[in-house]
């Protein structure tokens, strides 16, 4: 690839003062001559070489092109797609009923037709792990999305506009940070009678957004000080353009990292809340409920813990890998 052509704009007319300039001018001429020799195709009158026919590219199209070739993205994407599918149609890969339990089978290991064995209540662990994906993935994904969207919008706006709104928002996040999660869950969720995942998700978003908000605020403050944001403002760009085109792509990386790591925490938090009796309640099936129930018997029947815990680990890993791949794809320097 020939180097970009640096045309010689004529020698600098050296004046009495400009000792440094005289030197610079002669150097520049030499450099330009050298480069013109190195890249014969890039003559000054050469004009655009095949430029107009090349399609216009942007960060997002380049990122997508990059992601499609990234094995990490493909593997994690397939795992997540599989999880979504079994959440929607668990009966597609299991014929059992997660609530069809026989205490006679309690804590039994793997046997034909029941590859993962049975749990403490004598239910089939394989069936329960498959059916548990729905509640766990819903809680994890929805809570993470809610936290990421709410936290980055509020934190980002506070960081960008600063002043009074930033001060108010920062004090509000301080208040939320002071609420202990388990105690807050006991208080808030004990008054809810609904047996769906939504109160649990709402509670996690309520307590989780300040963390992302802090991170988003910090990275927006860092990004907005760069000259390219000033340059956009000098061009007459609106606040929305500066935020969406310049600040958001440069501030989103830490939010992606923290949010994907938090996803696993939310699934585990759901388990803690369920264990305390304020989260999901039986007959809802979730990995969290099964993990907390099995954790007492880990020495007698480790398989009861390992299968749902393994499913949780794979899920969290898939989301973290996805977040990593997306973050890398959005950084042109890493391509």
């Amino acid at each position: 690839m020939p180097e970009p052509h640096e045309p010689a704009e004529g020698a600098v007319a050296g004046t009495g003062m400009g000792g440094a300039m005289d030197l610079a001018a002669s150097e520049a001429t030499t450099l330009a001559a050298g480069e013109a020799g190195a890249g014969p195709g890039a003559g000054p009158g050469g004009g655009p070489r095949g430029g107009p026919s090349a399609p216009a590219r942007s960060l997002w199209s380049d990122a997508w092109r990059d992601l499609r070739r990234n094995p990490v993205f493909l593997v994690s994407g397939l795992i997540i797609l599989f999880l979504v599918l079994i959440s929607l149609w668990p009966s597609a890969i299991t014929s059992g009923d997660p609530l069809d339990c026989d205490l006679a089978n309690a804590q039994k290991g793997s046997s034909p037709g029941h590859p993962f064995g049975f749990n403490g209540q004598g239910c089939d662990v394989y069936t329960r792990t498959v059916y548990g994906a729905r509640a766990s993935v819903t809680v994890g994904v929805c809570a993470t999305l809610g936290v990421a969207v709410l936290g980055s919008v509020l934190g980002g706006l506070a960081g960008f506009f600063g002043g009074v709104w930033d001060a108010i928002l920062s004090r509000i996040t301080d208040v939320f940070f002071a609420i202990p999660v388990v105690l807050g869950g006991l208080v808030l969720l004990s008054v809810v009678t609904s047996n769906t995942v939504w109160p649990v998700i709402g509670f996690m978003v309520l307590l989780g957004w300040p963390q992302i908000s802090r991170i988003a605020r910090g990275s927006v403050i860092t990004a907005k000080q760069h000259d390219y944001v000033q340059a956009a403002r000098a061009l007459g760009a609106s606040n929305a353009r500066m935020l969406l085109r310049h600040i958001a792509p440069n501030a989103v990386a830490p939010v992606i990292v923290v949010a994907t790591i938090a996803l696993g925490t939310y699934i585990a938090l759901e388990a803690t809340l369920s264990y305390l009796g304020v989260g999901l309640k039986p007959p809802t099936v979730s990995w969290g409920i099964d993990i907390s129930a099995a954790s007492q018997y880990i020495r007698n029947a480790p398989h009861m813990l390992l299968w749902p815990a393994g499913a949780l680990a794979v899920t969290v890993l898939a989301f973290i890998m996805l977040g990593d791949a997306v973050r890398d794809a959005l950084d042109p320097k890493l391509r």
């Binding site: 400009g18 001018a25 430029g51 792509p249 042109p332």
Partner: protein, 382 residues
Amino acid sequence: MAEVPKNDEPTDATPNVSEVETVDAETPEEAVAAIEAPVERGEPILQVRNLVKHFPLTQGVIVKRQIGAVKAVDGISFDLYQGETLGIVGESGCGKSTVAKLLMTLEQATAGEVFYKGQDITKLSGRALKAVRRNIQMVFQDPYTSLNPRMTVGDIIGEPFEIHPEVAPKGSRRQKVQDLLDVVGLNPEYINRYPHQFSGGQRQRIGIARGLALNPEIIICDEPVSALDVSVQAQVINLMEKLQDEFNLSYLFIAHDLSIVRHISDRVGVMYLGKMAEIGSDEQIYDHPTHPYTQALLSAVPVPDPEAREGRERIILTGDVPSPANPPSGCRFRTRCWKAQDKCAQEVPLLAIPERFVDQDTPAAHESACHFAEEKDVVHAA
């Protein structure tokens, strides 16, 4: 001279700048029309009058109390004429970059006016401000932070067209971007590359192309080459001169490298601690400086000829630049000046042609804010 004010209040210490012909625009349409009117070559296009920027110093966590102000720019007046290059020099922290930001309305001025074609741009907003921004563009100091690392070169140079869609119809933008790349000496094929794939000099060319995109009349260059290698500096400076002729641009060129400023400027202003110390043509400033600060600055310029260097007098200033939060009374330079007397502490020197030179037809008869201005050729002295 008895009424010369003390330094407590920012005052217009520039008595003899020309009167500004203001345009009283009632509606935004009139303002836009005034902004888009052409200006003859040699006529003032940008007139700065008593511009002040104080950054408040506050104390307290919840209730913020102002305990002082950093007087970054403290009463500056000058004219920029159509087609000329006005150089602004001064050491770090003297307020050069703040002036640039004020002229770009990236900062809100504390007081004073900036007239662009008779319109005070510090009071404009909305459509009229957008029209001004189309006509005044900026080239930034650091080419490593002034280009968004996550945008392609095509997006960076094309962004002005997205913000001002009236400049280029959608279909022609890509071609325009490639033309601009060609104008600044870059290969138009690099349109899909990212800033990190370019060297510093090439990045600065991209920044210049972005500044040129809207076909502005004024380009404010805030130390455009100080982050570059010396050899690349010359290329970029020559490119800027070529573009000035080609597009009939007016430059406000801020730098701390005196040689480069002399090379590119028609007139030069010397700033010290938020005030203009001396302003004149490049010959007047470089060969006939009358302000002691200018003389000290010039005596620090490296001279490549060892024999000339031998006989040269070097003025070495003692002490540091005083804090702009608490500048000295009277003349700002008096704490480091070898000529300072009681008068310097009491009276703010006006930026005017020194009395002893007023009636003389010498290059020393240019505006200099010193009570004891006298000529001293520090550059050629042997």
